[in-house]
């Protein structure tokens, strides 16, 4: 096809160089393997390119279904969406967000639940784990399975059962409390008790889960530490504070990080138990995001909420990383 243009000649030259290089390479390989009977099978996948083949599917999926949405959501948070029409409105979504009392409420609720629930639950988990670990109990496996059981249920299922258990007039919980002379508690219908109910369900669902993590941590503490301490005459209580707790610190931080991130994204329990009510008392960041996005189809506003959640998570993760970094 006529005279080769400079560019195509360049490409031809390049190909030739490559060919030579490849020939040299195969020669080297053949030389290196003369002692072995090399089966020469032509394969497209070589040790050089095969890693791309292996990460290909995962990476493609992450690009399409995570990286793109994360960027797109950021852009959306500066837009107003009306049907298919999108227009840039600057920081309007964010300024609206910071004047929105319900959003503040959802932030406050999420943090209130976080600050009360995580310590109570972790304390309980630690208590059970220490109880199971320290005494030479029989049936340890039975206890472990029983306590872990709640962690296998769907949050939806757990929330539904508790919704029925906590019914104000006819629920089992109030019935048993009434046997002890306690007046019926409006679990799901007053703001204060609704929060308590959410905390109750979360604790029931996750205490055993964290207990198993603590138990594994306790089992990893070398027993000669305790032996040395008891030779020195340290009491059991002293041993607990001087050996057990410090040794458990990394496990402890791990559970705190997991629980904190989980609670920041709290959705299923309040959504099923109370639907965010009464009077937005159990409205969490994610429930509010869901309502803005899929009840009112205010995509720009919902994206702004999502990005505030990202920033909060990033800050808290950073603080916790710093704490771990001291180790």
């Amino acid at each position: 096809m006529g005279v080769p243009t400079p560019l195509s000649s360049l490409i031809l030259k390049f190909l030739e160089v490559r060919k030579v290089a490849r020939l040299e390479q195969t020669e080297k390989v053949v030389n290196a393997k003369t002692n072995f009977r090399v089966k020469t099978r032509k394969s497209l996948l070589t040790p050089k390119n095969v890693p791309y083949f292996f990460i290909g599917p995962a990476f493609l999926l992450i690009l399409i279904f995570t990286v793109y949405p994360v960027i797109s959501s950021f852009i959306l948070s500066f837009q107003e969406v009306r049907g298919v029409e999108k227009s840039f409105i600057g920081f309007a979504n964010y300024t609206r967000l910071f004047q929105d009392p319900i959003f503040y409420k959802s932030l406050l609720n999420t943090f209130q639940i976080l600050i009360v629930q995580v310590p109570i639950m972790l304390f309980l988990s630690l208590l059970i784990a220490v109880g199971l670990h320290s005494s030479m109990l029989k049936g340890k496996a039975f206890f472990r399975i029983s306590y872990f059981m709640p962690a296998i249920t769907a949050l939806v299922a757990a929330s539904i059962v508790f919704m029925i258990l906590l019914d104000e007039n006819f629920g089992l919980v109030n019935y048993f409390l009434s046997l002890f002379g306690v007046d019926s508690i409006p679990w799901l219908t007053t703001p204060f008790w609704a929060k308590v109910s959410v905390i109750l369900v979360m604790t029931w669902r996750w205490a055993g889960y964290n207990m198993v993590i603590f138990l594994a941590g306790l089992q990893n503490i070398p027993s000669d530490l305790y032996e040395a301490a008891s030779i020195d005459g340290a009491s059991k209580v002293k041993q607990f504070f001087m050996i057990t707790l410090p040794q458990l610190k990394p496990v402890f931080i791990f559970t705190v990080v997991l629980s904190t991130i989980g609670t920041l994204q709290l959705f299923d329990e309040p959504f099923i138990l109370t639907g965010g009510g009464p009077n937005n008392a159990t409205m969490t960041i994610t429930v509010y995001l869901y309502e803005a996005g899929f009840k009112f189809f205010d995509f720009g506003y919902a994206s702004a909420i999502a990005y505030v959640l990202v920033i909060i998570t990033a800050i808290i993760s950073w603080i916790q990383m710093k704490l771990v970094g001291d180790e």
Binding site: T66, S73, G171
Partner: protein, 276 residues
Amino acid sequence: MVASKKISSKIIIYILLIAGVVLSIAPFYWMIVGSTLPSGEIFRVPPKLLPGDYLAKNFQTLNESLGIARIFWNSLFIALVYTLFSTLISAMAGYAFAKFKFKGKNVFFFIILCTLMIPSQVTLIPLFEMMVTFNWLNTYQAIILPTLASPFAIYLMRQNMKAIPDSIMEASRIDGAGELKIFFTVILPVTRPAMAAVGIFLFMSQWNSLLWPLITLNSKEMFTLPVALSSLIGMARIDYGQLMLGTTLSTIPIMIFFLLLQKHFISGILGGSVKE
């Protein structure tokens, strides 16, 4: 004196631990009993704590309002397909990160670690728009694909595969095995325990997932169990008998699996993060 004190403290620990067990298990018992009672009986004072004979009737009403077999199948199919492919994809990626040197490796890994840190809520709106564009609302792929590549599973597989000695792969290469053959016949069998743990983790997270299916599924015959259950609560008059039965049906299969494979299960649900 000392001995008796020891025994009595042991008894106290036992009593407290058993009380805790009762609190953990009682809701399950009530859930199962409730599924055999008519709606009114569930809220009777004083309560009836023994199973009734309303199970078949509850099943009938549940089936009429939801088509429970279809919904059960949806949940099972989605969770199984998801688990199978997600485990394979994360094993492949984990293998590449653990055992190969290649250009861009650090960048790829950094991106995966970043997505691990970002709360998934941030992707909801654009993903929903994407599903609308693809016309994928009310489809299985809408539930399966977006979370198919799990950064957490990839990370775990990488950690596990790092322990495999390079000599195994080199020996197979010298024997003339192709790279794919090495992966499927040498690497995967060695990492079976890790894959089991990751598989259980993925299955459970998909089986129990509510938020994303709730957004993408709005026609009844495509519902998964959690979405179906939450739709029952939204009804004007809640039939608690069928609600309890639906909850039981979504919990029992997992419970049986758990009791059969509890060791694997616990390490799976904890994401293989705890070694015993």
